[in-house]
Symmetry: D2
Subunit: 419 residues, 4 copies
């Protein structure tokens, strides 16, 4: 039980942060849902509580009584094993329970969780609590991306939070792009995947061997300025650069630039949670679909990395301790001195790898087994983390996944090359 | 200017009422928009102010400054001559301006309107103010119907306003259905349409002659109990009762009962703004589409009235004063003693008449000409008024209009027969 | 039985004509179905036989055996009382029965019809045979309009029938537009509708009185040249000219000209069954939707006629014999010498009247009652007849009906005015 | 030039076969297109000729004149670099050119190809001719699958070819399922992909190393009888067995059994090109989507193989000759005596591998580069071959690919397990 003090602290810190980030909102903002793939703030706040209530409290706290039995339907996302779910495309219509009532529900859940946390926990309970925390941190990221998306339809360009002008300038000048260079890696056998030494999602494991051909990775992310060149060179009008499904999509949607880019008095801006901002050409280009990322890479004679290439590079500093009788795979050797930067906390980086189970993958038993495994179809893996991702999700083995057309996440491009 | 004191009073009363009916709402409820054909409360509150601002204040008040120039786009419903409009299906996304800001906008408009009302007004200005009041009263009705519709998706069955139990019983027992009888009317020439003696919408005129064949009208509206018999007799499974487009619609939508009917523990209830209520078989059946109204009429060997038949009956008590050299049309003679009840304040009554211009109809000049005329396609006329209609809209010449599939208004059936 | 010789002759002539007009087709053409609202030639050929088989042969010919029991499903259009129907949008997939087999089916039906026609017929049987002939003539018109529509998607601009160049020139020079003049009509009581003296569809009656205000009708149809002026004047870009639903439609479909107009080497052509042809500015404009017809009328300060106005004008030469104790309605008086031309055999003329039952209308008993009545929703009446309509359908009381967006029929505009 | 005699022969044999398989068709059948993902027979016949015309004749035969310049648009499938394409969903509307004209076009192309084949060819020309043949063989397979799909909507259950009863019995009794056993394979490094020793598609290479964990493969395909057990056990009603996107799809489409299964007098049949046939429980289950294949595998505690596992097993008999300094990968060792059957000529076998480029993959230069590479998104790889696949496509490295929802190909399941 050595982990327990930290577990309690982590739980409390996480729960508090979810509420803190809502503070700048007007009550009206809590119900916003612009598309089926986004959820209202209020729903995130309630669903993350539902998760603890469903998987920890109800099975473990005798005589627990939910404030409202309907919440189990309203705030169930997609767990068929738990029961029916309120239709996802109508989450914006749940004006009742009100924000106040949802916060009361949240406090009610916290109270019972604290009670639970004061007891001795089984390993499984502890894992589920860690999972609940990591789950809530994922929803904290979605809070920002969903809110940004839903606010963006308002022609008033509302700000989630005003930035003092000085801070704005700092933010703008933070990015000065280095020249793009390539770090090359030897081919051979490597290992990827989480080794279960600390908490990770089931989809990150098992750790397993993988053969890689020699490859190179770009030292930094693609910038806005580079992406503008792609546009200026007719990138959105040249079918030979695009995957067939991507070309069909941009025709249908008439896409001609990244999401959130817009003209204000003939100056290119992007809409942010701090309002419309001029675009810094040196900052990483963001809010691209997987198709746009792939087309950009084709345009400059490169490609997207596979997830194994990315992970190999990301773990190249770390020590690999696992023994293996035949081979001792370690991160493949870097062959030059360039440093790979911007791995984390900038943009998720599209890979060319489809999201599928690692060899030997087993979904968790019971309803939490629906967390990851059933989504292993039609999606691509993204690696790294974004400016709104929880810091402790920034690890080499983390597998994020979205559909190739998606671009409301903070998604960008790191280039790769075969040698 | 004899009308001005009453005009000021009417204006103030109307503006106050719009705010009063919002009082029971949670802030969250103001943004609800379940479908493109409904609007959020906040939008109604803002749009009715936009109407006065656009058609009265801006043309007449020098140096008027709107709180936000974007409001002219956000709160324009469909007036192309005024300018572009925020997409109708996204009105629920306008969380900013907040409710507080919209009420400030409203106060700002009221202030300038009072200034305007303190001056001498031209006849056109006075007409436009009367139009603005009538317009706002229409939106007060939409406030109720849209709110009911949008709340109805919430499985908590939220109440707009709780009813004390005693009142609930009174409401339930208010309706005791009389036996259905028929009042017959002679055929001949009649006149329908508004004669412009008091305020009316442009679509109500001009008053004009119309030949009617002998017909009969039912003394009261069709009841819930009678509609249950239609259902029990397989009404929704018998194509021979339905218009072809209606049959296709109920197949596609799988409709088998009126909107808002639902089972609670095997007892048939209907969802109301006071929550789920048991259905009174003697009360008028409500929330039917035009197709359902027509199919029910076919089922009982009757038909829907034409709007001319309905209006003739409705005006049969009044004195017709207009002279005509050839004929002196008057309401056609009733031939029996039955009284026609429930004309107003129960349910709108579907007619078989499509919504089209009366002979000699001219839309008003300028942007307000878009108020009615451009909608004269694909819709049916409904007559009477409903429980949530402004009382002063209850007149014989009033023409309401909706698409045959619509059923979120309080819409019911009065039967007619040819003789 | 005096009508029988002519009935036999009419039957044979009609049946032969359906086959004759198919002669120029390639076998491949018989199955073409570009959209759900059109049917393949082969289906028309089979369905018109199914009609006689279903309503005449099966009820009257003992031991009749259909070539294939499935034909009763495949070739039933919309008669729910007869039984289920093959989905309308898949008629193009019925490659079997082949054309040869369908012609055999047709011969099989003809054989039994001739047998029936050699017996004495009841009045009802005779009516049904006349209905079957009129029905087949309607499908002969649809043969042309559906074929034209479905061929038009082929970039080879296939010709149904080549025209000798001389004939082509004649066809082109046939139309020399007269100056547009107006014929005015007194208001008063008139009668419209079929008096049942010869065959007519049930929707044409009963004949009944109608009050008309004074009105004027244009002497001829609107020309291509006039419509080009409308386009050049921004007709498709000015919302104030359009019904609201029409404006939404042309935005969605990006319509900017009539159906079948296309540029060939910068010269405006229209696609016809004789291939692409240069447009004659003096010929009636054709293939307009009801919305375009209405917008054009608005643009030139006029309006579409009502169906009663049109019919009154069309019958103004005929003698009205029906007596009435109170009034002797007759066609309202024309007040000037202009002649109204192009009533028939040019284009169907959109009216502003929605397709609804005349006072006292009763659909026929049994399945043929589905012929007309159930379509009396959402459609507009068109009057006159087109270049591909059967000549004996050219009568004052004939009511054609289509949805306002439809434009694959030969549909044009005659202007009207109130006085 | 040693290959040339065989090349000529292969060309002629392939071209002749395409025409031969059309012989049982009625002319009407040639234009059938039930859905956008299928093409009409006539289009296949023309497109395969267009391929030779475009990539071989036009670049190499001086003064070549196409019968019709529009054919280059009509029969271009998806080669943007060649030029625009007639919309894919309207291929069924191309009744002209007629079948006869298309066969003339085909003969015209053949004539010029024979001329070309009589000259000395460059290696690239020879490769393109081999590609054209392989391409046409793929369309021969599509001829059968598309025809079957499009005919299946006809309630007459048309037969492409009648089978003599004796042959039918043979066909039925051909399959007697062996007991299902597992062959296990060691893990380690293997090589997959084509080594370019004979013709292959660009997507099959380059040959490359891959690490595999120990796995087992089923000795035979899943049978109809086994799939019936899945259905009987509620397979289509248990969300826990399904990928999330698959579950959503079967809800929407209401799928409850494989494509083409239908009840005839309460006996389960499947529709085939020989008409409706009773289902043999021992024959491989066929016409499953990738989602159904995956759900079935989950139901029996197994999984789909990866494409590398499948290919390793398939090549385990062959000799691997490529040298490598570090490792000599060869097919991983089988550890038991069971034989893996039904690899080819039964059903395509869904794998869990998404269709993506092999390490070092380069699409061919020029327009033929669009053949494969641009489809590497959203699709799954299928391995093996089906009863209608060209025999010389039955090779270990062949990668077929379809979207997970597709089931109109002959697609079945081979199970795999991790050890």
């Amino acid at each position: 039980m050595k982990n327990k003090p930290s577990l309690l602290l982590d739980f409390q810190r996480c729960r508090k942060y979810s509420v803190n980030i809502c503070e700048p909102l007007a009550i009206e903002d809590y119900s916003l849902q612009a598309e089926v793939f986004t959820s209202p703030t209020k729903w995130h706040i309630a669903h993350t509580s539902w998760f603890f209530e469903t998987f920890l409290i109800k099975p473990n706290v005798k005589n627990y009584k939910s404030p409202n039995e309907q919440y189990s339907v309203l705030f169930n996302s997609y767990y068929n094993a738990v029961g029916p779910q309120f239709p996802r495309n109508r989450r914006g219509l749940i004006t009742r329970p009100t924000v106040t009532e949802v916060l009361e529900y949240r406090a009610h859940v916290d109270e019972h969780m604290l009670e639970l946390l004061s007891n001795e926990l089984t390993a499984e309970q502890e894992y589920l609590i860690r999972l609940g925390i990591a789950h809530e941190q994922q929803h904290q990221e979605l809070f920002f991306t969903d809110l940004k998306y839903s606010l963006s339809f308002n022609p008033l360009f509302p700000t989630y939070q005003e930035l003092p002008q000085k801070l704005q300038q700092q933010l703008f000048s933070k990015h000065t792009a280095q020249p793009l260079t390539w770090t090359s890696f030897d081919g051979g056998i490597t290992e990827i995947g989480a080794a279960n030494e600390s908490f990770n999602f089931d989809n990150e494991g098992p750790r397993h061997k993988q053969w890689l051909e020699p490859f190179s990775l770009a030292n930094r992310l693609v910038t806005n300025g580079e992406y503008m060149e792609f546009i200026a060179d007719g990138g959105y009008r040249r079918p030979e650069l695009w995957l067939s499904d991507g070309w069909a999509l941009i025709q249908k949607e008439q896409w001609q630039k990244p999401l959130y880019w817009n003209d204000v008095d003939n100056v290119l801006h992007h809409y942010t949670l701090h309002g419309n901002q001029p675009i810094n050409p040196d900052a990483p280009v963001c809010h691209l679909s997987g198709y746009e990322a792939d087309a950009f890479a084709s345009w400059c004679g490169a490609r997207l990395p596979t997830e194994a290439e990315w992970e190999n590079a990301a773990q190249s500093e770390s020590v690999i301790t696992e023994k293996s009788p035949v081979l001792t795979p370690k991160p493949l050797q870097e062959n030059n001195s360039a440093t790979i930067t911007q791995l984390y906390q900038e943009c998720w980086q599209w890979t060319s790898s489809s999201y599928s189970p690692y060899p030997g993958y087993q979904a968790a038993q019971g309803a939490v087994g629906e967390y990851n495994g059933k989504f292993m179809a039609n999606q691509l893996v993204l690696r790294g983390s974004s400016c709104v991702t929880s810091e402790n999700h920034a690890r080499a083995s983390y597998r994020n996944f979205f559909y190739p057309p998606d671009r409301w996440q903070f998604t960008g491009v790191r280039l790769a090359k075969s040698q």
